[in-house]
Symmetry: C3
Subunit: 381 residues, 3 copies
């Protein structure tokens, strides 16, 4: 469900009931291919953390069905290339990771070698010809941007302005030491649903009372089907500070609501009081920052009806090393919520394949679902 | 094989050798989709027995690839709906069966509730808008008919006249207490063949001597490759009573030919003498009624080259409860015959995918295969 | 890798760097279907050895996705038919092999019987009609040719001139007793690559130093990236006898280079000295003949990205029966080389699916890859 909306001035509720996206957009293979091309291959996609990328190692990743390699040189510069040699098309990196023996990326087939900026520098055993110019046969490069310790790549040669991409210009995480956190736990789930189903579930809380009893207790406003206080009838901007907050006594998302270690020192009183800060970046994922740890969730569409969800829990290094640190107390809570949402997404996916159902209607409370669907429509237009 | 044809006046044999259906109709995915639409989504399809449907339970079924729900209200009225909520398209029934807690069908996602006639009655946590009218957002309804204790549904909004559909107007089972029988055994087989291959096999007995040695002994006429006596050279209508009958001493289809319990009291002398009464309803299945029990066979096309066969053996309740009742003696016989036919259907399916074979020829004895193929042609025209 | 090129007069090196085939030709299902039709269904395809075909047995084989049957009559004549009955399209041979009970091929469904030349001779239980003529309903015949003990079939009704097909007119194996050899070992590998990837790998040795360290030691010239001596700078025809030869002391491809039994008596001094003689027949396979044994390699495309490789090691019968004969010493060597090539082919296949890669460039040393690619282009034109 969507916990990311913060109270805004004025009611966000829709004054009408718009139509949903057409049902076929959630399972038609041709439409999926179009979304891969128009959305996933054009937008900035999170492919991991800077800290988890060792220098002088090729790391194989996949974006929009494309096999890519990430490499960090000795100076910390990060490059990304398509995982293919310009000769006869062999892949360059055969495993999840390959340690480099030199400052060269060497194709395992015929040993063509490229420097870490992608220039072709060696073609062993091969004679020269007038019509072949090494300078024209460098690796196919992919754009890279770093933000809050995360690596984003964009397959398009003409990427959107990073700071204007959905929420990537946000300063909401400025008070968290994002670059320095250490990954303490990873949860991966293969969901039998289209990637958009995930975002629609994320963008409303009408389902919270029925699907998330424990979360609705942890965040009391969710038990009313609201994402934020400004959805309540009669809400006024003066009520601002009574926004979305954890229940009395709870500091963070954990099984008992207590923090798992020291709180981050630079948070504002409001960030501390609220207990959860969401930043969302379509289409690829979101971050939720708590007073004691941060969770990063990333999607990877595998097919029209399959999406891989990956969640990483990030901690200060000292927290992980503290005697008595209880990892499960922290990770079990969000894992439970994600499993509940995953099951809901899968039943939504199965249902909308009915030939009788060509599309549905959104309710006033589904204003952020509507916003997401309009964002999708714009990308495809 | 086809045991359903009863002797008719005059020879049924064809006087020529017509062409079969084109081979591609048995494996081409586009043609399969067309048959789903033009045949399976337009005809009455058997989806189970009234007696096996508990009241106040949602039962999930599948017809022509569509997920549907059946529900019997407290008064015994049966309704069928597409298994999809009108809101964002979630499925309504996630398991094979869901017990209702009230006289409402409640969507598990956002708790929209419908009454048992399909009307939308509750949309919790949701504000009203002028452009959304609950009355226009009831469940998608599917037509239902009951016949001889069986439930038939038709996806089409304009279903064919039930009594004129293939054999559904038949009175052949009037002397059996169809409504009251109890299911004693179920056999399900996933066959690697197109659904039409099954019917063609069912509609001739040229294969009986080679494929069914035991059945050909049980029904002597089958050992000559006939389905019925009127196929014999020189047969005249006066020979009528020497129609298809079990071998001397046999009363029913069972391993030793003896009945498994009391015979049904209201059968005619001819029904008793014949020992088997077939009623066929294209495209969905057939019933064969014996003096002591009834078998219902139902097809479900799963793909161009996959068909699920389901056989149910129905008995008087007292037979099942009789001391010494031997279920296996009854069920083993037809199971053996169905496994023999299934293997034949699968080898037929594999063979006709040869690119050299575009179609074959029917022999005079294959008049019912020809009739079935013409029925298919008419539905697709 | 390609070991088949023998030194020719003049340098074979290309004087330019031609483009490769389009990348999509290696994975697009429609292009694969086109190649099946234009290449595999039109060319002569090796389907086994005459010696391995028992008389009076139906042997089921598959060519270009078609199920076929091979049968050798009592006089040794070999016929090949599509594995389908002319009646309703059942397959004739359900297992890998079926022993005949008479000189008839009998369909297991309705017992239609054909003689071993394919003529329809019996249709049991069936009445005659004027419009059905048995003579017009014989089995669908497939062309057969025998060569060096191998059976070749061609699905086309208009097969290419056998002796002019790639290398099938070659006399290179005349000094080996091909008909009499006995199969001592079979190795089958399912490769996740397009069939053309295999041939491209076979047709160059630039990859030998990196991929095949053991083979490059066995055949010293391979360690320089050459397939044959005439690729060396400054090579002249006078150097002819210093062609591709095994390392000093080695007689054959085996783990220690020694022969596994008596050498074939009729080889020329050059055939003996060279230690390896390759004959290649596109698209289906190649033979490599050594002084002591022969290896036959056959491809079968299973899908756009799957190819089955089958290797058979053939020996004089007396070699197999010799005390102390060490089969593994012989078979391990080529098995190792084929596994190395298989892994290279699979990484090539994975890489060229990158959307960034539409095709690459061939180097001067890849003249035989270029020749193969032009052969493919001609077949498709």
């Amino acid at each position: 469900m969507n916990q990311h909306a913060q109270p805004r001035s004025g009611s966000p509720l829709l004054d009408h009931s718009p139509e949903t996206l057409p049902a076929a957009w959630y399972y038609d293979p041709e439409h999926f291919a179009l979304e891969m091309k128009r959305i996933w291959a054009r937008q900035w996609v999170n492919v991991g953390r800077v800290k988890d990328l060792a220098p002088m190692v090729l790391k194989r990743i996949e974006v929009a069905g494309e096999s890519l390699i990430l490499v960090k040189d000795a100076d910390g510069g990060i490059n990304c290339f398509h995982n293919v040699c310009r000769h006869r098309g062999s892949e360059l990196c055969r495993q999840a990771e390959t340690k480099l023996k030199s400052r060269l990326i060497t194709c395992p087939y015929h040993a063509w070698s490229y420097d870490l900026s992608g220039r072709l520098v060696r073609t062993p055993f091969v004679s020269d010809t007038d019509d072949f110019d090494k300078a024209e046969h460098g690796l196919f490069k992919v754009n890279v941007k770093l933000w809050n310790g995360l690596i984003f790549v964009c397959l398009s040669g003409n990427p959107p302005d990073f700071a204007k991409a959905p929420d990537l210009g946000s300063h909401a995480l400025d008070n968290w030491p994002m670059d320095d956190l250490v990954t303490g736990h990873v949860f991966v789930k293969d969901m039998a649903c289209n990637w958009k189903i995930f975002w629609e579930n994320y963008n409303e809380c009408l389902h919270c009372p029925g699907i998330h009893p424990e979360l609705s207790e942890m965040v009391p406003i969710y038990s009313k089907g609201y994402m934020a206080a400004n959805e309540a009838p009669g809400w006024t901007p003066e009520d601002h500070e009574q926004g979305t907050v954890l229940k009395a006594g709870a500091r963070t998302w954990s099984m008992d609501g207590t923090a798992c270690g020291p709180e981050f020192p630079n948070l504002s009183p409001h960030e501390r009081e609220r207990g959860q800060t969401f930043v969302t970046f379509y289409p690829t994922g979101y971050v939720v920052a708590h007073v004691d740890y941060v969770r990063v969730v990333t999607l990877r569409p595998v097919g029209p009806e399959r999406t891989e969800l990956r969640a990483e829990w990030l901690f200060p290094e000292q927290t992980l090393k503290s005697p008595g640190f209880d990892l499960g107390k922290v990770t079990d809570f969000a894992t439970m919520v994600m499993l509940q949402d995953g099951a809901a997404c899968e039943m939504n996916q199965r249902g909308l394949k009915s030939s009788a159902y060509s599309g549905g209607r959104l309710m006033p409370q589904e204003f952020d679902v509507h916003g997401f669907q309009n964002w999708v429509r714009r990308q495809l237009a």
